[in-house]
Symmetry: none
Subunit: 229 residues, 4 copies
DNA sequence: AATGAATGAGAATTCATTCAT
DNA sequence: TATGAATGAATTCTCATTCAT
């Protein structure tokens, strides 16, 4: 006879396996391309069990994505809290996002597709998660500007540069694995090392936002309506 | 009697309408989510006509994407050719990509999803197109390094930063339109102006790669194994 | 609770109904002409149920045909086993095939079409079934020759004569039903009686292969209502 | 400028090519399995040309089959006319049918399928052709009975034996080519030689219908390379 | 006389979801 | 709680046939 607790534990365990499998399949194939059959197969449960536990495909998708983003938000907040200077915080921000993306290979494709679809007709939770992540960067940059260590940039640009380069880098792994030519174009020998890539991003971003370069006073060589000052 | 020519013209015209409609639908819904019915409807042709002209969904997808990328490659090459200094070329590169992305609202979601899927099992043409685009940037950066105006960066990072921020910005338009909160997080008043955003990217990228800033000698505050020098 | 067993029984029952319906429809229309919709309708199941149980049209076809031939092989083997002399075995062989063809009105058209198509690209099971049937006749004829009661004939010819006449006779029923003229050409009054036809075939085949001219005057060892005199 | 005659000639030529291609394709795939596209391709004409010349698929099928059978009727009648005794006529009948079947590899599959389908919903011409062929045999057998050289058999049986064995033998060529096992079951070394097979059929049929047992020892009146002894 | 383009009416197959146990 | 069976509603793709030239 099962105790109440063991039943509950089993239920949680089944739920986890379903969401894990869903994460993989949605990452590989997107919402429309994912098959409930495939998710059930990988979760090792019957297809009907998914409906019993979750409800329907859309709900499954939402819960899956939210589960991924939620954890990321927590991790970044934690990491930033440990740093003191804006530069350190910025690096922490980049590195934590990078680590999370690297540890969760499903994140990159999922977010890329979410962006592509304009978060189609999915509940607000997912965009809300994204808002939080951007918000944390804005605070860091603002603090940097106030302390005089960062130039006054549009947080959106910086954020998109960071997220864009990291996500694309990660998503590109699969492509590079399949297409030798792309690897060569990327000069794989250098950039194939993830941590080297990440610190490269950190450095470039810091260079871009740091307050003391002479160049920033000269401005872009062509157009003068920049975002600066 | 100009039968032959008029037949050819008819075929080309129908083909164009199919590919145009396909571009829109694939951009909105991705490969798996797109419906041939919908494409036929928007193209104003019978569903079977698509099969008569193209063959099947996969081929239609490939031809559509290739059509989009091919033009981009041409435009960038043309724009770069008109510039002389590496800085100018880099700005041209960024601006041309930005313009193309802006003029072809289907590009951003399509490329984002292509990246996400790891170019699943699609013919090599599409990755080949991407290789060309990256290749052009690498040349610009190399020239800049040789002329002493750029620091020695990994082209991959720079490329991903540029492409990433531009694509995400564009793709984000749809999201921002739907989700007020995200707009605020992005401080829409500034960044909603595309040309302001683009020049912001240019400036940051130039700051990041430019050779003469003192900051670049100090490096990132945390790790020292950068990509530089 | 007999859940497991009742589920199994349900599956078997559904399977049987599908295969039965398929047998009819394939017999009437052949592989290309048969419609899955029609089979589902006659089986009283949803079209998708066929795919759930069987897989696809080709597999359904193969399983259907194999099911028909397999039973025939068993029946013939059983019938021959009960006889002792080669003449008896030969008559048993003919009569069992005839009965099977008569009881399974789907067999004649199915085999005819299989022959016509050269067993197109269907798994080896079907030709293998046919091989077994021919093999049994060869053994009978060989035994007859060794015992001196049969002349040395090519089994292939004898087999084709038997199978050919029986299948054509059966298949012809449909035609004769539709076309009065053919009935007259066949002198229906005599040959419309199947058992008369079958014993006629037996007698002629025995006459053709019998080694002693006396035998041919005695007639078939089992039934006496031959076609002769 | 084309003369009236050359236009007519061209039309006839096109018609012939269409019917020839149709014969092949219908033989290979049956009515339902045949594709107008494929016929047009093999005929070297545009698909629409077939509709312009013939009308529709059913008409094309009917004309094709009728063309095949019509010629056969003529040939058999001619051959029989040259013989005098019933035995000779019977052998001629068999041999002419065999030759026609052998020379027109499309006949066997086409007739087999026609039999299988019960001549579905096709105009009466085709069954009429068949009636004529059977009629000729009946006359031969009747004459033989009256002259005391044949026993009184059912013409239907004899006819089905002849047609059945010959058609199956021919149709079997394709199968035997594909399936080694069937070849062995047929003891190919003997029966692979068509003329040997045909004379074997003649001999067995004669043995089966011949009135005097002596005749059966003399063998077929024409060829001596039988299958016996 | 002939043909490339186009299409309507299917046909096979898929898939999220529900049902019965 | 969990599942094998079943299904309705698409969805991709096919094919005989027609149209315009």
């Amino acid at each position: 006879m099962m105790t109440y607790e063991s039943i509950t534990r089993k239920r949680i365990e089944t739920n986890r396996r379903i969401l894990d499998a869903a994460k993989d399949v949605f990452a590989e194939s997107g919402f429309a391309g994912a098959r409930i059959d495939e998710i059930a197969l990988r979760a090792g449960v019957n297809k009907a069990t998914i409906y019993y536990h979750i409800g329907n495909k859309k709900t499954l998708y939402t819960e899956t994505i939210h589960g991924v983003l939620e954890k990321t938000v927590e991790k970044i907040a934690l990491a930033i809290g440990k740093s003191s200077t804006p530069e350190e915080k910025l690096c922490c921000y980049i590195r934590t996002i990078a680590r999370t993306i690297d540890d969760n290979p499903q994140m990159a494709p999922i977010i890329l597709r979410e962006m592509a679809s304009g978060t189609h007709h999915i509940p607000d939770i997912i965009p809300m998660d994204m808002v939080q992540i951007i918000g944390m960067l804005s605070e860091i940059l603002e603090e940097g500007v106030q302390k005089g260590v960062f130039v006054n940039t549009m947080p959106a640009i910086v954020h998109l540069m960071i997220i864009g380069s990291l996500l694309f880098y990660k998503a590109g792994e699969n492509i590079r694995r399949q297409h030798r030519e792309l690897s060569l174009a990327f000069n794989e020998s250098d950039s194939e090392n993830p941590s080297k890539f990440i610190s490269g991003v950190e450095k470039l971003i810091i260079r871009a936002v740091a307050g003391h370069s002479e160049f920033s006073r000269r401005g872009s060589p062509s157009e003068q309506n920049g975002a600066e000052e």
